[in-house]
Symmetry: C2
Subunit: 221 residues, 2 copies
């Protein structure tokens, strides 16, 4: 079983109303979106009073900003502890990241899709604070991969003019699109297919054998 | 100026309450999402009474299903009349489609992002009818490109095992992800960058010169 990104917030410390509300926001928004999630629902799911909500957050928008940052805090350890970091070759780590993304795309869609990608779809025009916090979280995640991409480009010069930063953002674009198409299709298949296409693109760019991409990171070392 | 997909519904025939409501749904949902858009707002934007709404639609969900189909009806002529169809080589039409997508990604984000991609993010778990209608609309759009991709594969055999259907869905995945990242970033840059990466991937697959992709469809014939 892959780690579940909901688990770190499922059992916040007793009395941690703020943590419980942020955990409830991640769960509810990933299932039903931002606008459909009311302060009342958040309080009920978190088991706290409305007074506690407004003690910790000045508004629902303030909770949204904090939840976008919390999403980064919750998911970062999941990726930091993932097995792909063990690979010595940075390009193996890049392919390993994409294989890891595929491996955790199991179970109900709301368990593996993205809080910030969902929230920003609805809020980009109404809350610049939530939009910016979502952007920060996506870019912080991309920055982790950017480091491996930069090292991979040094060891395996790509055959076209790309930047590590641009490629890192593109991986997130493909993954977010995979979430949208997977929700439409009602299965994880579009995301998995998209990750295969993305791996093939990187194989071309880094002049690696294609259609055997998973062998690259699974081979004995 | 590129054609605006809002224009066909901006001035429905006098007395066309149904058309006005569907047009209002496309505009409002693309700006603020599905749940944030109330029946009252839809009626106000369409200039119709609530009685007229429930004369035409049994529920907000029924309007959502009809709006997903209406999105297909509104956008299909835009793409059908686009200049890229003039290219004799089907691969030029595929690259031309992606260039056309880039060319219409201008102005406010809510004017060029996608009704069904936005609506399905929020509704996939709560309304299977809306989810299925959104999926149908995405797949109907992909099917147009699939025909050109199939013909392109026959004329320019790709260097890896791909299917036209799979590639067509992947293009929509990249575009939907580009919308999400563009909303987060507050500009069309992530979508345009993603389209460039996608074109480079297709250049590799179809063994075309890379980093000169736009020349391919712009060259004199």
């Amino acid at each position: 079983m892959p780690p579940r990104v909901t688990s770190p917030t499922a059992h916040p410390p007793r009395g941690d109303a703020r943590g419980a509300l942020l955990g409830a926001a991640l769960s509810l928004v990933r299932r039903q979106g931002w606008a459909a999630t009311s302060v009342d629902q958040l309080c009920k799911a978190a088991g706290v009073t409305k007074g506690a909500f407004f003690h910790h957050f000045a508004s629902k928008e303030a909770l949204g900003v904090a939840a976008a940052r919390h999403w980064d805090a919750v998911t970062s350890p999941l990726f930091a502890s993932a097995p792909y970091h063990r690979h010595e070759d940075p390009l193996d780590r890049v392919f390993g990241y994409l294989d890891f993304r595929a491996s955790i795309a199991v179970g109900p869609l709301e368990d593996f899709t993205c809080f910030v990608g969902t929230a920003v779809q609805e809020t980009f025009a109404s809350s610049d604070a939530i939009r910016a916090a979502c952007d920060d979280t996506i870019r912080a995640h991309a920055a982790h991969l950017e480091r491996d991409l930069l090292a991979a480009m040094e060891r395996h010069p790509p055959c076209a003019e790309v930047t590590a930063a641009g490629l890192a953002v593109y991986t997130q674009t493909v993954i977010q699109g995979g979430f949208v198409l997977s929700k439409a299709h009602g299965s994880n298949a579009p995301l998995l297919d998209a990750l295969s296409h993305l791996k093939r693109y990187l194989s071309f760019l880094f002049q690696q054998p294609t259609d055997k991409e998973t062998n690259r990171v699974e081979r004995p070392r």
